[in-house]
């Protein structure tokens, strides 16, 4: 069970984090949440899809790593085979403290039950012996800031997508080389026909709010499905 604590140099001085990427460390997952601010970096590596939450009133964006639960096709030999990792993956086992709708600077929390926390004397320290944050923690804090900022911007982004009816349901069916069928259902993507028919005023509004770039980046990201399928075929071929 996760157990979240506010990070402090006194309580967590000697903690070390394992940077290895591994199924045993919680990396076996088919997707993670993503924010529009990182779509540009994401689209060079992963397909980006959208999904309604359980109460079907809010959308979120996902970077896709596989075709079924627990399948991460980017994991290989203790590493993550991509030049960019989504912020939500990279900050683990840290998380944004406080409630998501609160304003002001956020605390950094840590899941002290995470398998990512090293049990031995190897792994990267988060505080040095004087209790100062290490460059590793400095980077995580920066990423947490970016992610927090990205989440706040996201609600405007999705509101605009819904206002302009720019999302459409998406189902992907793939038959792999081993003849297995794989289906992704329940996702949404950008409705390209609808985007093409928007008025100049509507496009100008999206552009002014900074939404146009992530829209096109999400569209471009779909070409990464061919890469994802190739990864899956290679894995199946290796057995």
């Amino acid at each position: 069970m996760p157990r979240h604590e506010a990070l402090t140099p006194d309580d967590h001085r000697d903690l070390r984090i394992q940077e290895r990427r591994d199924t045993a460390l919680g990396d076996a997952r088919m997707a993670c949440i993503a924010v529009p601010a990182e779509f540009r970096a994401l689209q060079a590596e992963y397909p980006i899809l959208f999904r309604l939450n359980e109460t079907r009133d809010r959308f979120s964006a996902l970077a896709m790593f596989g075709f079924e639960n627990g399948e991460n096709l980017y994991l290989a030999d203790g590493g993550w085979d991509a030049r960019y990792r989504p912020l939500a993956i990279d900050i683990q086992p840290f998380l944004i403290g406080g409630r998501p709708d609160e304003d002001g600077p956020k605390q950094v929390h840590i899941d002290v039950e995470s398998p990512r926390i090293a049990t031995g004397d190897e792994g990267v320290r988060i505080f040095d012996k004087h209790g100062r944050p290490t460059p590793y923690l400095d980077r995580v804090i920066e990423q947490i800031g970016e992610l927090d900022h990205g989440f706040r911007e996201a609600s405007d982004f999705f509101a605009a997508l819904q206002r302009h009816e720019l999302l459409e349901p998406f189902t992907l069916e793939v038959t792999l080389e081993d003849r297995s069928d794989n289906r992704l259902v329940g996702y949404h993507i950008i409705n390209e026909a609808r985007l093409a028919s928007l008025s100049g005023t509507a496009l100008a509004e999206l552009q002014a709010a900074g939404h146009l770039e992530p829209i096109y980046m999400a569209m471009a990201s779909l070409s990464q499905f061919s890469g994802l399928i190739a990864r899956r075929n290679r894995r199946a071929a290796r057995g």
């Binding site: 290895r20 004397d121 190897e122 792994g123 012996k129």
Partner: protein, 505 residues
């Protein structure tokens, strides 16, 4: 008559002999035969326990894994040397000579409140926290920082023996050499051993250490004495066991005393400590007192020391006719900066990079080899001497080191030049200098040599210096955060490699 070189005979075991056997056998892959004759009567002398980063490439070429080395030789990581008490002898007098070179910066532009090595290189920070230069997940012999090893040299020779005989096809003759057979042109044709075998060869390596059986006793090649420059001629060595979980230092610690210095080398189970001194300035009893005082800071009871006598000298021509001296038979320098094993490696590199295919090439290659070897020994003498002459210590020994009559001309010339500029490749032009300009910079700055005076040709401006210095600090802290301690690394390695039964116990 031009004869192909196909039979290599190595006389003498030890680090030099077995490194030579393994390197040559691995490099020639069966196209020559390698025979090593090792006398059961002659105990091998544990040549220095410090290595240079070149050892990683050497071991990789021989085909020994890093785990085999670390576990088989009780090895630990060495990232440089720390010099305590050399400049003034004051309690805060210490500086680092790390293996990673410094950023290129004019000392006058550097912050005054941070030691030179710490400001210009990320490694001293890592050393100060007893951290390893690598993580266990990295490929063999790769590191986040440049490094070598401290090791038990006797165990290294044993590991090399096993490896060379079982995996590389080296023939091991355990017998005492009783005679040497000479050929028409003054060369060696065979050696006779007590068991009445005659071992014939085309190229003979003299790895007989101080005895210099072939190069000295048989061929009569003279030595060049350096003891008027480097005064130390004695050492007292002890080994102190260390408790489990105690920190293991990341560097050799060299602590100056009134007439020499003390080495301190941390291995997983023990520390090797030795008092090096000049008998002209310190009696054996006094030296024993100096050593005992140092050891008392570490352990209550210190065992009786082993006594060693030596002389800094090198062979004028280590390659004569078809005989090449490698190891102590070629030369020996006092152990400061641990040049013994690296000189063996460099000699083998030079031999294998230009291997004599046929006997007619040997005179040419010998002449070149000898010129290179002399250059290297002279540079070692210069560099070791540098450590002494910049000192401000006042004891007679240190004052004698500062006497210009005891200083090599080339070193004195370089020091005159360095009043106006930092050491550069201009001073040390060889492609693989044992001690490049970076090493000289660490010693000069560490010993408090003044920053260069203004010159009519201004040094290039470095507008990015402050960002480079920030990067060094940042990199040092990032490495300090991500590297395990030497103890954690070596204990985890040992636990992982232990047989299952041992793990249960």
């Amino acid at each position: 008559m031009d004869k192909a070189i196909t039979r290599i005979v190595i006389v003498g075991g030890g680090t030099a002999g077995w490194l030579a056997a393994a390197r040559i056998a691995a490099a020639t892959a069966g196209s020559v035969t390698v025979t090593l004759i090792e006398s059961p009567d002659v105990p091998t002398l544990g040549v220095g326990e410090g290595t240079w980063p070149t050892i990683r490439r050497t071991l990789e070429r021989i085909g020994i894994t890093e785990t085999e080395l670390l576990l088989g030789c009780d090895g630990s990581f060495k990232q440089g040397t720390r010099f305590d008490g050399w400049a003034t002898g004051a309690s805060d007098d210490r500086y680092y000579h790390p293996f990673v070179p410094p950023i290129d910066a004019d000392p006058a532009d550097l912050p005054r409140d941070i030691p030179y090595a710490l400001a210009t290189c990320p490694q001293p920070l890592v050393c100060a926290e007893d951290l390893a230069p690598r993580q266990r997940g990295m490929p063999d012999y790769a590191g986040a920082l440049n490094y070598a090893y401290h090791l038990d040299a006797t165990k290294l020779a044993a590991l090399l023996t096993r490896h060379a005989t079982t995996r590389l096809g080296v023939r091991h003759v355990r017998d005492h050499v009783t005679g040497v057979e000479r050929g028409e042109h003054g060369g060696i044709t065979a050696v006779h051993v007590r068991g009445s075998e005659i071992v014939a060869g085309d190229l003979f390596l003299d790895c007989t250490g101080h005895a210099a059986l072939l190069i000295g006793k048989t061929l009569g090649v003279e030595t060049v004495d350096a003891s008027s420059v480097l005064f130390n001629d004695r050492a007292l060595a002890v080994q102190l066991p260390v408790p489990p979980n105690s920190p293991i230092a990341s560097q050799t610690v060299a602590t100056a005393h009134s007439a020499g210095w003390i080495w301190d080398i941390g291995l997983p189970m023990r520390r090797g400590i030795g008092c090096v001194y000049a008998s002209a300035f310190l009696s054996d009893d006094e030296a024993e007192g100096v050593l005992a005082e140092y050891c008392r800071r570490i352990s209550v009871d210190s065992p009786a020391p082993r006594r060693l006598t030596f002389r800094s000298a090198y062979r004028s021509r280590p390659w004569a006719a078809n005989c090449l001296a490698i190891g102590q038979s070629a030369g020996f320098m006092e152990p400061l900066e641990a040049s013994a094993i690296v000189m063996i490696e460099l000699s083998l590199d030079a031999l294998l990079d230009d291997f004599p295919a046929v006997s007619s090439l040997m005179p040419i290659q010998a002449r070149r080899f000898n010129a290179l070897a002399t250059y290297r020994w002279e540079r070692i003498v210069d560099f070791l001497k540098l450590h002494y002459i910049l000192s401000h210590r006042d004891e007679p020994y240190w004052r004698a080191h500062r006497d210009p009559a005891s200083q090599p001309d080339r070193l004195a010339e370089m020091l005159a030049l360095w009043r106006y500029r930092s050491p550069s490749a201009f001073d040390l032009p060889m492609q693989d200098e044992l001690f490049p300009a970076a090493s000289y910079r660490y010693i000069l700055r560490g010993m408090g040599f003044p920053a260069p005076l203004p010159s009519p040709v201004p040094r290039p401006l470095r507008p990015d210096l402050s960002s480079q210095l920030r990067q060094i600090d940042q990199r040092g802290r990032a490495l300090a955060a991500s590297l395990p301690t030497n103890r954690a690394y070596l204990d985890a390695l040992r636990a992982e490699q232990a047989p299952i039964s041992e793990r249960r116990a």
